[in-house]
Each structure stands twice: as C-alpha cells, then as structure tokens.
C-alpha cells in the first residue's frame, strides 16, 4: 500500500479519479454532498421519472452520513460514515449521472465494484465511529434538498483535510480483500 498521503480536490476531475489506487490514503479538500438510504431512494425515483435532480452529480463525491444535530454555534454535529453497502442497489443511475466518488464504511458488492470499473468511479472508506473527530474536518454545512428527511436530507459540505482511504479504484482493485489477506492467520 502506498504510504504517503495525497491531497485531492472534490469534486474530482477525470485525471484524479483514474490515478487513484486502492489502499491510497487521501486528504480531501472541497465539496461533498451527503446522502444515505432515504435520499438515495428519492434521487433514483426522480431519475426514473425523468425529473431533474436537486444537485448536478457530474464529478461529485457523495458522503454517506447522517449527522447528529449541530449545537448552537457548531457547523455540524458528529458526522462519521454509515455503511456503504446499503446504497449498493441505487448506484448505477447515479454513476450514469456523472457521480465519481462515494465515501462510507465497509465493503461494497461485486456488482458495485464492476460498475465503478465501467463508469470510472472510485469508492473511499473512512473511520466508522470516529464521528466527533471527523466533524472537525467539515467547515461548512448547508441544506440542499429533502429537508423533511431530517438527518437523511442532502447537505452540501465543505471539507478540509478530510481523511479517507481508496477502497476500490477504477481498475476493480479491492483494498479490503488485499489488506485482510496480509493479516489472516486462518
């Protein structure tokens, strides 16, 4: 695994996406959109109905998070990743709309790994349960859509030095599989 941490910008350009490799550690600067179960369902329903989306997904990165409510004066509450694989059934229509990156925790299905190869997208993992620490790399949080969904609404986040690791790249490499193999004693 590459040891040095690289800085990348979100949204991501094609060169960045194609250059990333599973196991690479990154620090993000830029913009993420938040979405999880209910907001994914709505986005895909809008696409199926041929209606416009509340956000342009071209080159964008979606962070799978449902933050806690912010205290007065706070940008955001605690904001760690939720389980990525729950969003697996929704991915293809979003990739077709230009989505290039996702951030969450845990493995994804082989179907999504194949979709990432086909649509030239990558998936990042960050540390589940480090929510208070992760919130410190989020500088701004604005409500964008589906406000009625509460914590599941789509927010626009501005992030700085947001840590993640490339879990799956555009070649179909799998950080999880490789990493576990190194330490397995079974």
């Amino acid at each position: 695994m590459p040891e040095e941490i690289i800085h990348i910008k979100a949204p991501m350009d094609e060169k960045t996406v194609l250059g990333l490799r599973a196991g690479q550690k990154v620090l993000f600067d830029g913009v993420f959109y938040t979405a999880r179960d209910s907001s994914h369902k709505r986005l895909v329903e809008l696409i199926e109905q041929g209606k416009p989306l509340p956000i342009d997904l071209q080159g964008q990165v979606i962070y799978y998070v449902g933050p806690t409510p912010a205290r007065p004066g706070q940008v955001i509450g605690s904001a760690g990743p939720t389980t990525s694989s729950r969003m697996d059934p929704y991915m293809e229509p979003l990739y077709k709309k230009g989505l290039k990156g996702t951030v969450g925790k845990g493995e994804r299905s082989q179907e999504v790994i194949d979709l990432m190869k086909r649509y030239k997208a990558v998936h990042f993992s960050n540390i589940g349960g480090a929510a208070a620490l992760i919130a410190k790399s989020i500088r701004k949080c604005d409500m964008i859509a589906f406000e009625d969904l509460g914590t599941e609404a789509i927010h626009r986040l501005e992030v700085e030095d947001f840590f993640a690791i490339v879990a799956y790249d555009t070649l179909g490499n799998d950080m999880y599989k490789e990493a576990i193999k190194i330490y397995s004693r079974q």
Binding site: G77, G129, A130, L133, T151, I182, Q186
Partner: protein, 299 residues
Amino acid sequence: MRRIEADAITQAVERLCMEANYFLGQDVIDALERSLKEEESPIGQQILRDILENARIGGEELAPICQDTGFTVVFVELGQEVEVVREAECGMQSAELNPPFNIPNSALREAITKGVAQGYTKGYLRASIVQDPLRRINTKDNTPPVIHVEVVPGDRLRLTIMCKGSGCENMSRFAMLTPAQGRKGVVNFVVETVLKGGGRPCPPLIVGVGLGGTFDQAAYIAKRSLLRPVGSHHTEAHIKELEEELFEKVNATGVGPQAWGGRTTALAVHVETYPCHIASLPVAVNIECHSHRLKTTIL
C-alpha cells in the same frame, strides 16, 4: 412497597442517554489501549489512536462519539418491592410517546420513553427511529426505546441504557444449530458472522453470543452479554474457555480495525448461556461496535 416517582426515572434516563453518547466507558478505553499494543498493522494502529482521540473529543466537548446515537435499549431490574407512581401533573399522552402497538403503557414504560425523548432532544442526539418498518416515518425523538424488564428481589430499580448503533446490529446473525453440531458448530458460526460482517459493523467489535434457550431468549442473552464489562469472562470454566477460543479465532481472521487489515478485529467476545431443549442448539450473535455506549444507575 417503596414508591419511586416516574419523574425520577425520566430524569435518570434522560441523563444516561446523554452520558452514554458522550463518554466512552473506561473498560472500552482500556481494551482499545491494550489492543493498540498488540496491533501489527500501521493503519490499524492509526485507526485505534483515532478512535481513542475521538473518545477524548466526545468527553471534552459533549459531542456524540458516533453520529449513529443508536436505538435506545433499556434494561430494567425492577425490585419487586418497588411501585412506580405517576405525578399528577406528569400527564403526557401515551400517543405522543409512540408506544409499540401491542404493549400497554405502564407508568414505568411512559417514564422511560419520556426520558429517552428528552435526552435525545436536549442532548443534540440523532433521532434514528422510524414509527413503522415499512412506511419509515421518523418519530423525531428516538422513541420508542426497546425495554426489557426483569423483576428482581428488593426495593431498588436499576436502569441500564445501551445506545445500540445499527451498523453493527445489522451484522448480527442467528442460527438454529443441531445438538450434533455442538461446540464446533458454534465456533464456526461466530467466526463466519464476523467475517461476513467485515468492515460494515465498525470493527474492533465486541461480540455478544447467546447460546441456548428459545429463539427469543438466545437473542436476549446475546444482547445481555454486552452488559458485562468489556473483556470480563463467564464464571463457568468451559464457557470462559469458549470465549477465549472465539476471541483468538476472531482476531486471527485478519479483518482488523475497520476491516483495513490487522489483528484487532474484536476487543472481546462475551458468551451467555441458558438451558435449552433436547432438540435445539440456538446461537445468536449480537455484534457491537467499538462505540459501545452503555451507562447504568440505581434508584
């Protein structure tokens, strides 16, 4: 009879919900620090350090240590000499409290539910519960909780609050093994459950195993095993040996912190048992993450 006012229960539950979410228990911190010494993977070490740093921030800033502030599971040990009494003015309508439809509201249930609602609202904790599993409309105050009541001797009321994240709860599994599959079958099922979960339940884990009883009882004791101090052992020697074997095997999987590879897949494995039917060997594996939010008080 000793009378305990419902309001005292509400206040206690409100406080425990907040404390559980801000302050990681010392037993978990100690287990994380022990693991850090054993962990071989550099990124695994970094994750463990980040988790400890996250716990420090949570405690100092009263920030929830995880954004999934969980399903509130309340374990009540109700002394049989205790009577829970409502104050006259404490008349919240039960409909507001989102009672599970088939359980009538008692003063105890109402008081606990109100405490959860207040704790989650005042404590800036996330509302993660939907009223109906299919319609999925958020109840907005994290109620109703899941409440388990055991009637015990005495005139005290012990309340234990577990704020159970769903990332890990979702990776829990159940099997009705046959008596012939025995201990080996149990070991294989537990290890397989951890491997299948991978990074989804946020390892390092605390693995709660319930062996025996009925379908429901096995799941209940699996969850109850998580109430023990992390890394403590069962009093029966052969169950302690099983816990040790499971701990070793789970940590030999290579899954490691966050499944990014390493030694620390679990901080502990706890097993609880219950007598069972001649035809059965139920095994429930309740997966808990490192963000083990558990607080208790006695009234």
